[in-house]
């Protein structure tokens, strides 16, 4: 079973040289730390920046330079700034190669729910609906089951949707799965020490297991 760092490390292997990548808050943010050397990516922050660098050293924080999580960040050589309309314009136009975000639920059709829980204070969807509607390649980073022990990979989402038929890949503490509408969750890799049976037990939606499922290789 993987911890959060493990999930981030596994997703980092999906990032290819030259990609423009948008990282959501939480586990997705960690992915930036594990991108292999030699793979050059440009991080897009939807509040209006391409070329997001690491957090600043203490004393070098600039209140005019934040990321979409409102954290202070830095520039890298080649950074550019733009306004929010252009930022989502490039997302809509399919210029961003990969979006990595968290989810509360994903359905076997690739629907995602990650912004609202009925009965709880609704904080808003931020840029999540725009990102899932537009990105050509979306990976969800999440726990396989929720705190109550219920599967988050479902036949149909029970929570209000963020987007429909948009999720292509999921990486959890147990497995790597592809999502193919009309088929279901296709099991690609097992986390170290996790059996197919355990993954099956934790997956409420239709799980497709074909042949031997390899164990993930994580450095």
């Amino acid at each position: 079973m993987l911890d959060k760092t493990g999930i981030a490390k596994r997703i980092a292997k999906e990032v290819k040289d030259g990609y423009y990548v948008n990282l959501g808050i939480g586990i997705p943010t960690l992915v930036a730390n594990y991108i292999p050397s030699g793979v050059n990516v440009t991080l897009q922050s939807e509040n209006g920046m391409l070329g997001m660098g690491p957090f600043p050293f203490e004393g070098e924080e600039d209140p005019d330079l934040i990321n979409a999580g409102k954290q202070t960040v830095t520039e890298v050589p080649g950074t550019s700034y733009f306004d929010s309309a252009l930022s989502f314009g490039m997302i809509r136009a399919g210029k961003v190669d990969l979006t990595i975000l968290g989810a509360m639920e994903v359905s076997e059709e690739g629907d995602i729910a990650n912004w609202k829980i009925p009965g709880k204070m609704v904080k808003g969807m931020g840029g999540a609906m725009d990102l899932v509607a537009a990105a050509k390649n979306i990976i969800v980073a999440m726990q396989h089951v929720n705190k109550a022990g219920e599967s988050k990979l479902l036949p149909k989402c029970t929570l209000p949707l963020t987007g429909v038929r948009c999720i292509k890949k999921i990486v959890t503490e147990l497995a790597v799965l592809d999502v193919v509408p009309g088929q279901g969750f296709i099991l690609r890799e097992r986390a170290p020490g996790v059996s197919v049976e355990e993954i099956q037990k934790a997956t409420a939606g239709r799980l497709i297991v074909e042949g031997d499922i390899p164990e993930m290789v994580i450095d």
Partner: protein, 232 residues
């Protein structure tokens, strides 16, 4: 042409109760601090605020929530404000949640003189309820209308007496499109210079969109999430 006003109180002098305002910024980054303070001094009520966020309890639009001046927020994310939550749950405050890109694009549509735009964000979700859907090349889109705000209030880095504006780093955010989208645009800047001093090639918002401009007296520029890395 005289766009320069003495300060925020003169700039917002004719904002009346029940006005619709656009307020620039993302989180607390690039917010029109001086104008918000003036709106609180003026005490206008019943405001509808189009703004990506609602500030925090003691800064930004949060200050106007405390004084009960806001009737409705049109935002994409409002999660950092306990007073907001209290007013929302008690029914004192209305909120219209709009996907962030759609919010920005509805400002852009107003800036570009377009009545509406087709967007994919929210298709198949509760956001789509009651909205016109049209299929282009096999993909469904929602019709989203341009905002119509009485006033836009933005913060830029530098401006000149003709109203030309330049922003710094990620403060462009919603400020840039909002500056171009309001019926009357008020811009506060850190540095106001005579026309001719800014490089025309570096202007982000041309002055035609800006009606009133002033140099803010002080900027706190509060940081919402101060994150640092350890020195090596």
């Amino acid at each position: 042409m005289n766009k320069v006003v003495s300060g925020p109180d003169e700039a917002i002098r004719d904002i009346a109760d029940d006005s619709v305002l656009m307020l620039g910024g993302f989180g607390l980054c690039g917010i029109p601090e001086n104008s918000i303070a003036a709106l609180i001094r003026k005490g206008v009520k019943g405001l509808t605020c189009i703004s990506n966020n609602a500030g925090v309890d003691d800064f930004g639009i949060g200050l106007m929530l405390k004084t009960r001046q806001v009737k409705k927020m049109i935002s994409s994310y409002v999660g950092e404000n306990a007073e907001f939550e209290r007013q929302l749950l008690s029914g004192e405050l209305e909120v219209d949640l709009v996907p962030q890109g759609t919010l920005a694009t509805r400002c852009m549509a107003a800036a570009y003189g377009m009545p509406a735009v087709w967007v994919r964000a929210g298709v198949g979700t509760e956001i789509a309820e009651g909205k016109e859907v049209r299929n282009f090349n096999g993909i469904d889109y929602l019709l989203e209308y341009a905002f119509d705000a009485d006033f836009s209030i933005v913060k830029a880095w530098k401006g000149d007496t003709h109203g030309n504006l330049i922003f710094r780093k990620t403060t462009r955010n919603f400020n840039m499109q909002m500056a171009m989208a309001g019926r009357i645009t008020i811009a506060e800047v850190e540095e106001l210079v005579p026309a001719g001093e800014l490089d025309p090639d570096q202007i982000h918002v041309p002055g035609i969109y800006v009606h009133r401009i002033f140099q803010g007296s002080t900027y706190e520029k509060r940081i919402e999430q101060r994150t640092v890395r350890k020195a090596i």
